[in-house]
């Protein structure tokens, strides 16, 4: 292009235009898929998820449908509500699960033997949703002027206060009625009715699953519509820069409140559904553990990404549960590791060297151990068959692995934190021992018993790994800023 001689040849603008050019936002095969995906109308996107989900009950047993299906959908619905508050409006709400609890308890009060109420679902659900929305409004009112850390602390306080409240509200005295047992205290409220829509009872796992699927699909579509509306844009604008949003004619405080109310309403709906699934409302169900899980789902999926939430819920609910049974777990585990190595390690020579190194390292350790510390190899791997027996000659299996595996576990967590900080050469050299350590912990600890704590640690490890690879989450858009 000809330029007049006296102008600077390339201005900032022109530089961006010529170098970055009319670059597409996505490239390659991944880009082709993503572009097609973005062009789909919302309803079609939901169908992409809903169709396989609708077929799922026919492919699996009732127990699996409960474990994998129902809980994935409960988590997804719950995280969708949180996404309004945190993902869209950018308000760090740490009391969110209390709204979920409110929904469950409120439904329990309306439909269980606790007070002898047995409301129909078509009446109870709207009441529950409106009730939690009002609670959301009440919590939001004093908080709406709060920013960042202050809001986080205040909502955390609310969340904890809720747990204390339901634990103790079995002996509240009311002005006129006298003593009443509102929440069943530490024992909670049991025998919650299944939903009863105009006489049609949602009383089997399969029916509950489809009800949840409809709820998730509906909320998904509604949220997609809101996201692409005046209100959705205003929420995102206030997340980006509240001051600029306010000056651009957006009533920031009112919109924050609105986000709180809508988030609470979705949580309340989820709570009511969860109440009928669990058939009980227990104070322990609405504690910090759940909060962490829901946040993990959102971080994993990417803040503000509606579809990412669904995928995040699938991952967070199912992977730890799949790993729980050793028949699924071993192929899944080694498959994932192998796949990750195959994808990440280049060139082929390095890949071959690392794999060879890993095999050699295992035999060397095993050889040394059987000569010097026979106690380290006198156990056996779980399972039968050739592969399990072959593993016995390569991996260490102490007879009583608990203590040493715990130590190895802590070592592993430390190693995973340190490893990414190392130089390339050290990373290459230390990869085989690291993988061996991973497998050792896996074979001797995780495969043997995956408990609650292990689940959270696994979740943490997933998030740490994700933060290194894709800080914006699986489906989030990049939050880059070029100053």
């Amino acid at each position: 292009m000809e330029q007049p001689p006296d102008t600077p040849r390339i201005g900032v603008d022109e530089w961006v235009a010529s170098v970055e050019g009319k670059r597409e936002r996505y490239t390659g095969p991944r880009g082709a898929v993503l572009k097609r995906w973005e062009r789909l109308p919302p309803a079609a996107r939901v169908l992409v998820f809903a169709t396989p989900a609708a077929v799922f009950p026919f492919l699996t047993s009732g127990g699996n449908l409960f474990r994998y299906g129902l809980f994935t959908l409960v988590y997804a619905l719950l995280a969708l509500g949180l996404n309004i508050v945190v993902g869209f409006a950018g308000l760090l709400d740490l009391g969110y699960v209390a709204f979920f609890g409110c929904g469950a308890y409120m439904y329990a009060i309306l439909a269980s033997p606790q007070f002898g109420n047995h409301w129909q679902a078509e009446a109870a659900i709207p009441v529950v949703v409106v009730f939690t929305a009002v609670v959301g409004l009440l919590v939001g009112l004093p908080s709406r002027r709060l920013l960042g850390d202050y809001l986080a602390i205040l909502t955390l306080f609310f969340g904890q206060a809720f747990v204390v409240f339901v634990n103790n509200a079995n002996r509240i005295s009311f002005p006129f009625v006298g003593h009443a047992d509102l929440t069943g205290g530490a024992n909670g409220i049991a025998n919650i009715d299944p939903f009863n829509f105009f006489g049609y009872r949602i009383d089997s796992t399969r029916k509950q699953y489809y009800l949840l699927l409809i709820a998730v699909a509906l909320v998904l579509i509604l949220l997609m519509f809101v996201n692409e509306s005046r209100t959705g844009r205003a929420w995102r604008a206030l997340r980006e820069d509240p001051l600029a949003a306010e000056v651009m004619s957006i009533p920031v405080n009112r919109l924050k409140l609105l986000a709180f109310v809508f988030g609470a309403a979705v949580a309340g709906l989820t709570g009511a559904i969860y109440g009928t699934i669990a058939t009980a409302a227990l104070p322990g169900d609405y504690d910090v553990g759940l909060l962490i899980t829901v946040y993990a789902i959102m971080i994993l999926g990417g803040f503000g990404s509606i579809m990412g939430i669904v995928v995040g819920a699938m991952i967070v609910n199912n992977i730890p549960k799949l790993l729980h049974s050793s028949a699924n777990a071993r192929p899944l585990f080694y498959g994932t590791i192998l796949l990750a190595i195959l994808v990440k390690l280049r060139p082929w020579r390095l890949l071959a060297a690392e794999l060879g190194g890993l095999v050699a390292f295992g035999f060397a350790i095993h050889g040394i151990a059987s000569a010097a510390y026979p106690r380290l190899v006198d156990g056996e791997s779980i399972g039968s068959g050739v592969s399990a027996r072959a593993l016995d000659h390569w991996m260490l299996f102490p007879k009583n692995p608990v203590k040493i595996a715990d130590v190895a576990y802590i070592l592993l967590v430390a190693a995973i934190v340190v490893y990414p900080q190392l130089s390339r050469v050290w990373r290459a050299v230390l990869l085989p021992p690291l993988l061996y350590l991973v497998m050792f912990v896996w074979e001797n600890l995780l495969l043997v018993h995956i408990g609650g704590a292990t689940r959270l640690i696994l979740l943490g490890a997933m998030l740490v790994a994700l933060m290194n690879i894709r800080p914006q989450g699986l489906f989030g858009t990049a939050t880059v800023e070029i100053a």
Binding site: R230, R236, A237, M248, I250
Partner: protein, 265 residues
């Protein structure tokens, strides 16, 4: 071109931060379809003046009137709705939103459809949404092809510095304001881009019908666009009038050259 109707009027405006008096007893008038430049050395209180007009700060005393209506004490979004929009010296775009979304977001104030109606996309909601798109495209079109076509779907963070400044202006325009407050629109631009911005500001008034209050350090820009120039120093208006008159005013020269100290002693 310049009408006679007073649009914005500041009366005895005062603002202090702690002990520091940043705006002192300031009177000022902006008439319809006028381009008024505010100049002054760093720290003179120019940006603070914008913050007062847009409601980010509340003046300690004095009045700010738009069409005779006092704005003091109103929330910023309300003031914007009434017709005053601004850009930021430090650029405050919604970085993780696309170019077009930035401009669409700024239309919140003059649109009506509530969240429930947009959830189910009623015909009214669709119609309004279409209108929001149209207006956004119109405002972005004001900048030639700089912010057109494939740029609509780019995230604001991927824009060049000059384009970010343009987008700030487009966003302010989209609020349907009558007065634009531009805080150093040419800062950080190369000569060619600066020239473009100068022409653009003229076009904003002539074709867009906006009244413009602009803070600018570049005297070529000020000379090129201003109907009137107001010079501030330490929050005090030290000169006002045509560019020639203000630029040669001894107090302005003094303020810019920093001769004050030697003379007041």
């Amino acid at each position: 071109m310049t009408g006679d109707a007073t649009l914005l009027e500041l009366k005895e405006l005062d603002k202090s931060f702690g002990g520091l008096r940043v705006i002192a007893d300031l009177d000022m008038v902006v008439k319809e379809h006028e381009i008024v430049s505010v100049i002054g050395p760093n720290g003179a209180g120019k940006t603070t003046l914008f913050n007062l007009i847009t409601g980010i700060y509340r003046p300690d005393s004095g009045e700010i009137q738009l069409d005779g209506r006092n704005l003091v004490g109103m929330a910023p979004h309300k003031i914007t709705e009434l017709g005053i929009a601004r850009t930021f010296q430090t650029l405050r775009l919604f970085l993780n939103m696309t170019v077009k979304e930035n401009v669409m977001a700024a239309q919140y104030g003059h649109t009506k459809v509530g969240v429930l109606r947009s959830m189910v996309r009623t015909p009214g909601a669709r119609r309004e949404e279409k209108e929001i798109h149209r207006l956004a495209e119109e405002k972005l079109g004001f900048f030639g092809d700089r912010l057109m076509g494939y740029r609509w779907d780019q995230f604001a963070y991927s824009l060049s510095y000059a384009n970010r400044r343009r987008l700030e202006i487009a966003r302010a325009m989209a609020t349907q304001a009558r007065i634009l407050l531009l805080d150093e629109p040419a800062a950080g631009m190369n000569p060619r881009e600066t020239h473009e911005i100068t022409e653009l500001i003229g076009k904003l008034r002539d074709d867009g019908g906006y009244t413009i209050l602009v803070i600018e350090h570049d005297m070529h820009v000020v000379e090129g666009i201003s109907d009137r120039v107001v010079a501030l120093d330490h929050g005090v208006k030290i000169a006002e009038g045509s560019f020639e008159a203000v630029a040669t005013d001894p107090r302005v020269v003094e303020a810019y050259l920093g001769l004050r100290k030697t003379e007041t002693k």
